[in-house]
């Protein structure tokens, strides 16, 4: 072995935050290499992917539009992951939030009151939370592994959404396209500024950011969640109620994902379509890890992830590259992050043959 790992004895605080940066840089380098192999100019492609989308205010506002659902989902996941509850179900919770929000919006499509939006948003949050709660129920009541149940619920949610969008919620005047009718104006999230699509979901996201930060860093509830995650036995030993905490974490997680979903249909999209989410719920997993389960870190990571989405679209349009670049980069980034994280607890040591010999000689002397 040329490279050996030596335990540091304790965590390196610097590496804790350097590792995500290192992972991002390594991802970009591998990406550049990949583009070069495919016969594209690497620098040019990276420019198309990461810089060109942000050339103007519209680009920046689009970045924020894409970052909102990712940020909301990832904040929720951070709460669950702090408790080591591996909720993979943000995608399904998001879809269900979108579905329930749309069902509500279609119900009250002619209602011209400020309350319409409140009802739509509440329906979305409640449905997301309920979908998360389902995972909590299966876990606390039946001890079913939440990774598997939440991912199954993703597939079920997707099929439910498809069923409704092809069936009960299909716009009767929509030429048989699988789409709902456009929502009434009262059920739409107002725009933040005249140009661009940035909507009032921004305020929800900022509110959620602060709330999750207080929860995880200041409150005793957050402390209990962290203890549960780090050491289940210790949590039981002092009487923290594991089941209640699991419920809480999954309800928060699901509720925030549901908010993200309803924010999409009531915001930029304005109706229910089959492709509500290009995998935001899955991207949020990478974002949560990349942000170290810390709300501020997650904020930056979600912006980066949104940039990848935006860049992926841009690269598809201008260079005819598959949009799957976004997912590819996501996966790479998470991989590199996990690999770099080894540096938090271990110190790399180059172990060359001659070096070993000299240390041996020293020890003998």
């Amino acid at each position: 072995m040329l490279l050996s790992l030596e335990p540091r004895g304790q965590q390196s605080r610097a590496m804790l935050w350097l590792s995500p940066l290192l992972a991002a840089v390594l991802t970009l380098c591998s990406g550049a290499l990949l583009f070069a192999l495919l016969g594209h100019d690497p620098l040019d492609t990276l420019h198309t992917l990461l810089i060109a989308p942000l050339a103007d205010w519209y680009g920046v506002s689009e970045l924020l539009v894409k970052a909102l659902p990712i940020l909301l989902c990832a904040l929720g996941l951070a709460v669950a992951y702090q408790a080591r509850i591996w909720n993979i179900g943000a995608e399904g919770q998001l879809l269900l939030g979108a579905l329930a929000g749309s069902a509500m919006a279609i119900q009250i499509i002619d209602w011209d009151s400020r309350w319409a939006l409140v009802w739509v948003v509440l329906a979305g949050v409640a449905a997301g939370a309920a979908w998360g709660g389902l995972t909590a129920w299966l876990r606390t009541q039946f001890n079913a592994n939440e990774i598997l149940t939440s991912i199954m619920l993703n597939y079920i949610a997707l099929n439910l959404l498809l069923f409704f969008v092809h069936g009960p919620l299909k716009d009767p005047a929509g030429f048989n396209f699988p789409e709902s009718a456009m929502f009434g104006d009262a059920s739409r999230l107002p725009l933040v500024s005249e140009d661009g699509r940035l909507h009032a979901g921004l305020y929800f996201a900022l509110l959620a950011l602060v709330a999750v930060w207080v929860l995880l860093h200041k409150s005793f509830l957050g402390f209990q969640i962290k203890v549960l995650g780090l050491d289940r036995r210790a949590a039981g030993f002092v009487g923290f109620r594991e089941k209640r905490l699991v419920w809480f974490a999954l309800l928060v997680s699901g509720g925030l994902a549901g908010l993200a979903g309803v924010g999409e249909v009531a915001g930029p999209i304005g109706q229910l379509v089959p492709q509500v989410s290009p995998g935001y719920g899955y991207a949020a997993i990478t974002v949560a890890f990349l942000g170290r389960l810390n709300p501020l870190g997650i904020l930056f990571a979600s912006l980066l992830m949104a940039l990848l989405y935006l860049g992926g679209e841009n690269a598809q349009m201008t260079m005819n590259l598959p949009q799957a670049i976004t997912q590819l980069f996501q996966g790479m980034m998470l991989f590199f992050l996990l690999a770099c994280d080894v540096l938090i607890l271990y110190r790399p040591r180059l172990k060359l043959k001659w070096a070993q010999r000299t240390t041996n000689a020293e020890a003998m002397a």
């Binding site: 199954m152 597939y155 079920i156 997993i285 990478t286 598959p322 590819l328 996966g331 996990l338 607890l345």
Partner: protein
């Protein structure tokens, strides 16, 4: 319901259960050695796309199968490097592998979506395939299904009868003791992960070369995850993996049954069935926490490094 329909259902059940069986056998070995690899879905997809591209470009189906397996192994090597070499959290690494595999397969296969391929054809064994009810199911399948029978036999023999099986079980139960005894824990685990990768790649190849000979994004549709649930369902016992795979296969073709008895249910709702069935099975089997703990390999999912 007439005999023909039943015979058809049995036939389709085994066909549909085969990819699940293949992945689950690989993951079973992997989990027995103490490693939880949640990346099955990603490895399957990569196997499926590589197998398809190779078979279509070379015209050689077997080369496709071979490279599908290699593709699965390649991704599992990544997993082994990060989760075993760098001691990373296995849950997170497995998720990363799935996300990566989904992205990579979509990226690589973008230009190949929807192209037609003449895949493996069923080979009916004379006489045997004419046995009523079970003849078609067992003796009129394509060659990869027959291969899955053989691989099942191999895995069962290894786990139940061979010294290698003892070693895998020892490593998965107590890596410290196994290491003190001189067993190469990390090497055993790495090999188990690689075997799992090859099986997942093969399962992916089965989908794109035999089951539905074509490539589509996310064509595995969660089968990698269902296979993970299947291993829990089987309580880590190899014969139950076989049973479970075919039961899940049955759940996935229930629309055939529904059509057979003249029900019309929207296809999107029917498509949920395997996932609902998975949850139900998890609920039924995990309810007894103590029992689950008894069967699960003791060190499943726990990082381990040699040292003091």
């Amino acid at each position: 319901m007439d005999l023909d329909l039943l015979s058809n259902i049995f036939y389709a059940m085994v066909r549909t259960g085969t990819p699940l069986l293949l992945v689950a056998l690989g993951e079973l070995i992997c989990e027995k050695s103490g490693v939880l690899n949640l990346g099955q879905e990603g490895m399957m997809l990569f196997g499926a796309v590589i197998g398809f591209i190779v078979a279509l470009s070379t015209g050689n189906l077997w080369l496709g199968v071979l490279l599908a397996m290699s593709a699965g192994m390649l991704l599992s090597m990544l997993f082994a490097a990060v989760a075993l070499g760098f001691n990373a959290n296995q849950v997170a690494t497995g998720l990363a592998l799935t996300i990566f595999g989904v992205g990579l397969s979509t990226f690589v296969g973008a230009a190949w979506v929807g192209k037609p391929l003449a895949g493996f054809e069923p080979i009916a064994i004379p006489l045997l395939s004419e046995i009523p009810l079970i003849g078609r199911m067992l003796f009129a399948q394509d060659i990869l299904v027959y291969l899955s029978f053989a691989l099942f036999g191999l895995v069962a023999w290894v786990l139940l009868k061979s010294r290698i099986g003892l070693i895998i079980q020892a490593v998965g139960e107590n890596p410290d003791a196994a290491s003190a005894m001189g067993l190469p824990v990390l090497r055993v685990r790495t090999l188990a992960v690689l075997f799992g990768g090859a099986m997942a790649g093969l399962a992916g190849g089965y989908l794109s070369l035999a089951y539905t000979p074509m490539w589509a994004e996310n064509m595995t549709a969660g089968r990698g995850w269902i296979a993970l649930a299947l291993v829990v369902f089987a309580s880590w016992r190899v014969f139950r993996v076989l049973l479970g795979a075919y039961l899940f296969g049955l759940a996935s073709i229930i629309h055939l049954v529904a059509q057979g008895i003249g029900l019309s249910i929207p296809s999107n709702l029917l498509a949920m069935l395997p996932y609902v069935a998975t949850i139900l099975v998890l609920v039924l089997l995990s309810r007894d926490a103590i029992k689950t703990r008894l069967f699960a390999p003791v060190s499943l999912g726990k990082p381990w490094q040699p040292g003091h």
